[in-house]
């Protein structure tokens, strides 16, 4: 087992490419997301209704070293200020294989 952190990001579905681009830029290799999340935040309700995914969220999970997060922290903050959403960080252990 190895201590790692988990970064969770929730933002609009249409912005998922932006998030991936940011991860790419900082060479974060691994991530997972679901792109049919619904929810509510400062920008109102995202109820999944509509024909374009405009009202749907993507929920990202990124397991990485704390240093990795330090690198993406500021650009991520900027991105989320622009596009809305939340970023939550917690600790845990990774079962290496």
């Amino acid at each position: 087992m190895k201590a790692q952190i988990k970064v969770e990001i929730i933002t609009n579905r249409l912005e998922r490419r932006e998030v991936v681009r940011l991860l790419d830029r900082f060479e974060i290799k691994g991530y997972t997301f679901v792109d049919n999340a619904k929810g509510r935040g400062n920008r109102g309700e995202q109820d999944g209704a509509g024909l374009t995914g405009s009202f749907t969220n993507a929920y990202f999970i990124i397991i990485c070293e704390r240093e990795d997060f330090q690198r993406i922290k500021e650009p991520m903050r900027e991105l989320l200020t622009e596009i809305g959403g939340v970023c939550f960080v917690s600790e845990g252990e990774w079962l290496m294989h």
Partner: protein
Amino acid sequence: MDLSIFLDNLSNPAILFFFLGVFAVAIRSDLNIPSPISKFLSYYLLFCIGLHGGEELAHNGLTAEMFRVLGLAIILSLVVPIYTYFILKRRLNAYDAGAIAATYGSISAVTFITAVNFLQGQEASFDGYMVAAMALMEAPAIIVGLVLINLSQPKTNGTRRRRAMQHALKEAATNGSVVLILGSVVIGALASDKHLQAIEPFTGEIFKGMLVFFLLDMGLLAAKRMGALRKQGIFLLGFSILVPLLNAALVIGVCSLLHISQGNTLLLTVLGASASYIAVPAAMRITVPKANAGLYVSMSLAMTFPFNIIVGIPLYYYVIQLLMP
């Protein structure tokens, strides 16, 4: 005034299922079309209408009326967002004003298809290039809306502004429904008649039924957005009915001067009067995330769309028949 045209519209299951969708949301039913199905149905409608438009375009060739209509369509999609922007700017911030202006400058494919369906019910003719007109009108208003928003901003770095515009242009031009409708028109024009006939049962025969089913879904979607409308002031509610009427009057006037046929006039009127809730929201969410999507989507989907399909289409057609004998 002869009401039969309105009553006939109300006896159309497409309109009735729209009401059923609204009713279901009103009584808090869990009736709900899964979103992959919504998307399939809306792509299917664009696919069919595009193929038929392209096919007719290839048969009839290029005509003078066609160029008049396409020119008019593009002018319309540039003028509407500009004039509405300045109306909106009196009450709203630049982001919301620009986004709503783009919404009303662009078009609603489903309203257009409903109007086509209406014309077929009236046994009135129209031309295949109207589909091209529709396709051409989807994107320009988005660009205009963004230019207006940008102009309203304190001078920012030139490169940055250019980047934002390129981004917007890209979003507008590569939107899935724009690509599908334009692609289908081109394919309809290129494909051989033999092959197009072979797929007619799919693209033609079951089309109207699929439209009816889809309007049930539209009713559900529109009604879900009606809640958000209650919080909006009378200004925006008024806007979402009066601007379509104004645009319709404008189009009907110009078309009657240019001697455009009744069917084509109705369709162009509907394009002018309708507001986007597919291409524009998808582009605006990304290029102007600061605009309130709840605002522009609600107005177009929960007010303008129902108004057009229930009252607007027969009303416009009634006026067109009066003015253009």
